[in-house]
């Protein structure tokens, strides 16, 4: 299953434009092997042990035990959110998850789009009022997940909930996912407001109907109109 997952991230034709990392970018990536991360770049990104946060947010030098513990925690095929720490001369990117808001991702849906469609904003973590949260990775990996209930206790991704996600949350997430696909198909920039407006425009339709060509055109047009109104 892991091998096939790797193949999946590589074979999407829509990802033809590659991601060029810049310091400070937020990315979502998939662990391929210790400690390389697939981020749709030309070269695999690297996540160094020293750049990962420890349980509880401690800061101390990592030991061999930590390395073994890390291996249990982050496995091949897992998804993480991270920040670009530095870029090597050959273009390869070094990632860190030193803040508690980064780390392993739990249950959710991944949408892979062209990096050029992700608008650069002050923050890429958004809790949308419709009932779900998104991470808009600069590398084009979009992560949609149920908004966690306790916001004050940020565990840095060490506790991943395997509780079944309620149907209402899953409906919101599926709808968001289809809206993002619609925006991307119409080559529309992705940012929190565009996704939200598109979501609201899609409400009269059934979730599965959003992907019909005529419906996609309609809701993206509506989104465009509302955004223009906002500016004007």
């Amino acid at each position: 299953l892991v091998g096939r997952m790797r193949r999946l991230t590589g074979c999407s034709l829509r990802l033809a434009p590659r991601y060029n990392g810049e310091v400070g970018d937020i990315v979502v990536g998939r662990i391929t092997e210790r400690w390389k991360v697939e981020t749709n770049s030309r070269l695999d990104s690297v996540l160094l042990l020293s750049s990962m946060n420890l349980p509880g947010g401690e800061l101390r030098r990592r030991s061999a035990e930590d390395e073994l513990a890390m291996r249990d925690y982050l496995q091949e095929g897992d998804l993480i959110s991270a920040e670009v720490q530095s870029v090597f001369s050959d273009g390869a990117v070094s990632l860190h998850t030193r803040s508690l808001k980064y780390g392993k991702l739990g249950q959710g849906v991944l949408v892979q789009v062209s990096p050029s469609l992700v608008k650069r904003q002050k923050t890429h973590f958004h809790d949308l009022p419709c009932g779900a949260s998104v991470i808009l990775g600069n590398n084009g990996f979009i992560w949609i997940y149920p908004t966690p209930e306790q916001k004050d206790e940020e565990a840095g991704g060490f506790t991943t909930s395997l509780e079944p996600v309620p149907l209402s949350d899953r409906e919101v997430i599926s709808r968001l996912r289809n809206c993002i696909v619609a925006l991307v198909t119409q080559t529309f920039m992705l940012f929190d407001t565009s996704i939200l407006y598109c979501y609201e425009a899609s409400l009269p339709h059934q979730i599965k109907d959003i992907l019909k060509p005529e419906v996609m055109e309609e809701i993206v047009l509506e989104t465009r109109r509302r955004l223009l109104d906002l500016e004007g």
Binding site: L1, R4, M5, R7, L8, G10, C11, L13, V109, L167, R170, E171, S174, R175, R177, N178, V181, Q206, I207, K208, D209, I210, L211, K212, P213
Partner: protein
Amino acid sequence: EDLRVDGRGCEDYRCAEVETDVVSNTSGSARVKLGHTDILVGVKAEMGTPKLEKPDEGYLEFFVDCSANATPEFEGRGGEELGTEIANTLYRVFSSESSVDLKSLCINPREHCWVLYVDVLLLECGGNLFDAISIAVKAALFNTRIPKVRVLEDEEGSKEIELSDDPYDCIRLNVVDVPCIVTLSKIGYRHVVDATLQEEACSLASLLISVTSKGALTSMKKVGKGSLDPESIFEMMETGKRVGKSLHIALQKILDEEESLGTSRQKVGFLG
């Protein structure tokens, strides 16, 4: 709970586009786009000799080509194994006597018959290949026009075959009984129809069944490394028959609509 990632229910198909007569120098052709899966089928009718064991019938030959553009795995000779598997499945599906009226393809018993060469080209792989291919094959066969021939016998008893001069004078195939493949992929405890690539990656076992428009099962094949419980196989078969029947109805509706537009139909083809 019947909700998949893209909002579909377990028995819903993705938005499909079917267009026939897209390749000009074939006897019949069709293109099917099911989500990100893109299939092109061309049918060429050529004269050949009937097989020894079936002297008064014509036959079908299937060739499947996995284009290197479809997915990176198909680079070089990677797609050959999959191509052979699909071709073998198509032979099995069409091996039933009732799927295509092979006797209508006979010109001269033991001497001449029509051979339909069906070429399947995989343009893009987006999950659920078999279903899309079977839909495209049925549409292409529906679109196939075989020229009418007359057998002339002269005084010495040797037979000559005369092709009708009128290019519109041709016979059409009856595709009412041509089966379509429905793939049911088992994910967890449920099974889904028309799996996307991501869903296929999560499915350990699938059942391929070919269903005719009347709901009759003509063949069945299990694929995948996982195992299937006999009870779930039965459930999947029932779902397959149900879904297959509505698939045939929807497909026939599209084909009839296309047909009714006649030559004035605007073809999208490859440049649309």
